[in-house]
């Protein structure tokens, strides 16, 4: 339960960072989606039920900080969590480069889903003019941020004591795969 609240706190902190601090230094296209990185981490390291519930709540938090309607990111992150779980069972995600590839895949999937939902449900097709050209910058920003967070996590975990597995990212969680 403590871990769950930690994820929620992390998501809220990331939302504040994305809304209040990053806009001071970075133009919109170069701002990383830190909550997406957290969602992918959740999908890889937590048990399915916890990942789903946390994904839905983090989606609702992101919806409260962006766009006009609640529900968009709730749905998008649900699919991202499920897709991540599917991928994590097929690939060796203990490898850091592969993990970055998962981040890249997650970013592409998220953009695809946001574009689909906004075009089909909200009839906001012009959003594609914004989304598509921004994808390469988003990929770079998200991968760089993920690498940075991974590095910090590694340092942080070493401070707490070494744990086996990729920076203790996957398979270290007691509840992974349950």
């Amino acid at each position: 339960m403590r871990g769950f609240f930690l994820f929620m706190f992390g998501g809220f902190f990331f939302a504040l960072l994305q809304s209040g601090v990053l806009p001071l230094f970075l133009p919109p296209d170069w701002r990383p989606n830190l909550i997406l990185i957290l969602i992918l981490y959740l999908g890889l390291s937590e048990n399915l039920l916890r990942a789903l519930v946390a994904g839905l709540l983090l989606g609702a938090i992101q919806d409260s900080f962006c766009g006009p309607s609640l529900g968009l990111y709730v749905s998008v992150y649900l699919i991202v969590v499920l897709a991540t779980r599917l991928v994590s069972e097929q690939l060796n995600v203990e490898s850091p480069p592969l993990l970055l590839l998962v981040i890249a895949g997650g970013t592409l999937l998220q953009n695809l889903l946001v574009g689909f939902y906004l075009t089909v449900f909200a009839e906001a097709a012009p959003v594609l003019h914004i989304l598509i050209p921004a994808i390469p910058k988003q990929l770079l920003a998200n991968m760089f941020s993920a690498a940075l967070l991974l590095f910090l996590l590694l340092r942080f975990q070493r401070m707490l004591g070494y744990r086996p597995g990729l920076a203790g990212l996957i398979y270290q969680s007691k509840s992974h795969g349950t």
Binding site: P28, S64, V74
Partner: protein, 289 residues
């Protein structure tokens, strides 16, 4: 008797099969049910565009003090950096500078900042005075947390008498309208957001159209192909949408293209407001004349 026995076995078999299916595909069924529920939630909220849900209000309300704090911390950091830290090298190069001199420079910097803010607010007030409508000043304290939506967060909400749908302007022109509201903060949908559409007209020729957001600029839809539109023309609100007062600047035409076929021209405009440097705005609280 045989029929009864057969139907009993069939019933047992079916029950076991259904139970087995439910057990085997429980995650898939759960995922599909959740996905359907989220799509329904999203579709429902799309219809309730102006309504702020309890969850959103709670999150915005909870986030508001943090955003205020972040704003203050950034101001403080900016102040410290501008007023003290960057002077360290100067002091090393020039030993004549005293502590008193530093304080004076810091004060001067503050006065300069206040004076610049004063100029911006005067412009804003003059703009709103011309409108002849009551308006409320507000500070921008946050931006959208995604890269595709264009919204900002301002530091005034229901406690200051604001409601959903009120137009927001800056000294250079239209900023957007309030879409979500909490007691001490509100979210404003910028005119450059892809879901924003404002009834507009070309000031010089009175050609009508709809200004739709494209992220950084605006596209003018439904401008007839024979309409007289030139690059550099000023685009203003037409007042037809019922939200923005008539005649407020929206943008300047930067591209006019007429295809070989089609009823309409392709027109694009650059917003008059520089959204990347937006600090103070005015919320028009009076009735649209």
């Amino acid at each position: 008797m045989l029929i009864l026995l057969f139907s009993y076995h069939l019933k047992v078999f079916l029950e076991q099969s259904v139970r087995e299916l439910l057990r085997r595909y429980r995650f898939l069924l759960l995922a599909v049910a959740l996905l359907l529920a989220t799509v329904i939630l999203y579709s429902y909220n799309l219809r309730q565009k102006t309504a702020t849900t309890f969850f959103e209000r709670a999150v915005i309300t909870f986030a508001s003090p943090f955003l205020h704090s972040v704003d203050h911390v950034v101001d403080f950091a900016n102040g410290t950096w501008n007023d003290y830290l960057w002077l360290v090298n100067t002091r090393q190069r020039n030993l004549i500078l005293t502590q008193e001199n530093q304080k004076l420079r810091a004060q001067l910097q503050q006065v300069k900042e206040i004076s610049l803010q004063n100029v911006r607010l005067r412009k804003l007030l003059a703009f709103v005075d011309d409108l002849d409508l009551p308006a409320l000043p507000a500070q921008v304290i946050g931006e959208d947390a995604s890269n595709w939506a264009r919204t900002i967060i301002i530091d005034k909400g229901t406690d200051a008498g604001l409601v959903n749908g009120l137009p927001v302007v800056a000294a250079q022109g239209v900023v957007g309208r309030i879409i979500k509201i909490a007691p001490n903060s509100s979210r404003v949908l910028l005119i450059t957001d892809a879901s924003s559409a404002v009834a507009a007209l070309i000031q010089r020729t009175r050609t009508r159209g709809v200004a739709r957001g494209r992220g950084d600029d605006l596209s003018i839809e439904y401008a007839l192909r024979n309409a007289d539109i030139n690059v550099g023309d000023l685009l203003v609100t037409s007042g037809m949408g019922g939200i923005f007062p008539k005649g407020l600047p929206l943008g300047r035409i930067k591209l006019v293209k007429t295809d070989q076929f089609g009823l309409f021209q392709q027109v694009q405009a650059t917003p008059t407001v520089d959204f990347s440097h937006l600090e103070e705005v005015m919320v028009i609280v009076g009735e649209n004349p």
